[in-house]
Symmetry: none
Subunit: 242 residues, 2 copies
Amino acid sequence: MKKVGEPAPKVRLLRAAAALLAESNGEPVSTRQITQAARVTAPTLYHHFGDKEGLFDAVVAEGFSEYLDAERSLPTSGQPIEDLRMHWDNHVQFGLDHPHLYLVMFGNIQPERRPSMVASAEAFLEEVLGRAAAAARLVVSPHEAARSMLAANIGVTLMLIAEPAAKRNLELSAMTREAVISAVATDSEADPTTDTEGTPSVVVAAIALNAALQSSHPDQLSSSELKLFLEWLQRISSRSAS
Amino acid sequence: MKKVGEPAPKVRLLRAAAALLAESNGEPVSTRQITQAARVTAPTLYHHFGDKEGLFDAVVAEGFSEYLDAERSLPTSGQPIEDLRMHWDNHVQFGLDHPHLYLVMFGNIQPERRPSMVASAEAFLEEVLGRAAAAARLVVSPHEAARSMLAANIGVTLMLIAEPAAKRNLELSAMTREAVISAVATDSEADPTTDTEGTPSVVVAAIALNAALQSSHPDQLSSSELKLFLEWLQRISSRSAS
DNA sequence: GTAGCACCTATAGCACCGTTATATGAACTG
DNA sequence: CAGTTCATATAACGGTGCTATAGGTGCTAC
């Protein structure tokens, strides 16, 4: 029987390691710090996890399962393309919420080391894309689409993590998201052969107009009108889910 | 007793560190290994680089300068969009050639740590995109286009590095490359209405947004807001800005 | 020359790290 | 109760990043 008030040493080790890794800004965390924070001595760590790396792997595995749980619990809107946007945004948000964990999960992947978890994430995204394919909205195979989207998603998230939180510009995410989605799927429900090249997505166009307006202000709108216009433009550009 | 044909200890340390880092598959490399390989004792390392991290930073800095040299020495084809493809592929190739270095350079970026080098890479890409913008082939500002392209480029390269060399599928790169480029630029010849150098004109962007809004209406704006928004958009589109 | 003076390198050692051989306690099984 | 197994603790080993101190080395000034 476990005591209710206090978690088992194994759990305390996991939590202490996760907490210390999250706090200490990427600098290495010693086993002594961890065991002390978990109020446990060294051999306990090695009894449960075999290794320092084993403990860290367990932390990463928990991070992945948390991420996958969040992904799986996202509702299905019925519009496959909209679902893609939701999952993309959820991925980015997870990275920004757990930056250090994310760096280990997606930024540090060694060849032949831990493809299993990333493969799971990829497989899940492929599943979502399978639904888009079933709705005849995909122009490439779900497998390739998933790889491309995940790659871009990771790149964007890493770049957002790397820059100071205050300066983060989520338009980078929205813009790249629309770029990849529009290359992989077709927006219109109708005939998939109709090309979408002539009309770029609303979000990209809104971002472009927003950027253009920064350098030259049109004289067709009064300043108050322009202010409201820019606000609406911002709303269209960011299109934050929820 | 100094041999003339032999590089200085500082250079030997740099080369030994780079070589050992490239060989030992991501596992940590000790200062003792490095100093022994460079046939030098510990204090020499600390005299020249102050720190183990200082030495590694120097290795990374050399990697970056090698990368930037390669980028800068790429010929200019005269077709800006084609240049973008070339630089994208060069980036990927660099990553596949120096996987461990690349992981440190682009996969491990800590917030507030070393943005200067990545910023240089971004600035250079922005420069290339500036030429595309000057040819009126850009739909968004060079700055945002550079960020988006670089993010996707990094994500793709990391994913390619992570999988076994035999199984690497470069179509992932080509596909994502075209996705980002086509979202950021237009393949067709220049539109004469474009006037500004860095960013496309407000009018062009407004027309694009107007067209995009015809096919899909955003749910961020109420119908009454949208009506007014479209009217203003029409006004901006009708005449060129001051 | 040689005295002074920066520079660069070596000897030897510190404090810390990950890890483990060994031992002790607790909990269940018969 | 004895036997077995699991979980934790004591104490220590070799390796690591790093440095206080001291010793060459090549220069310029006299």
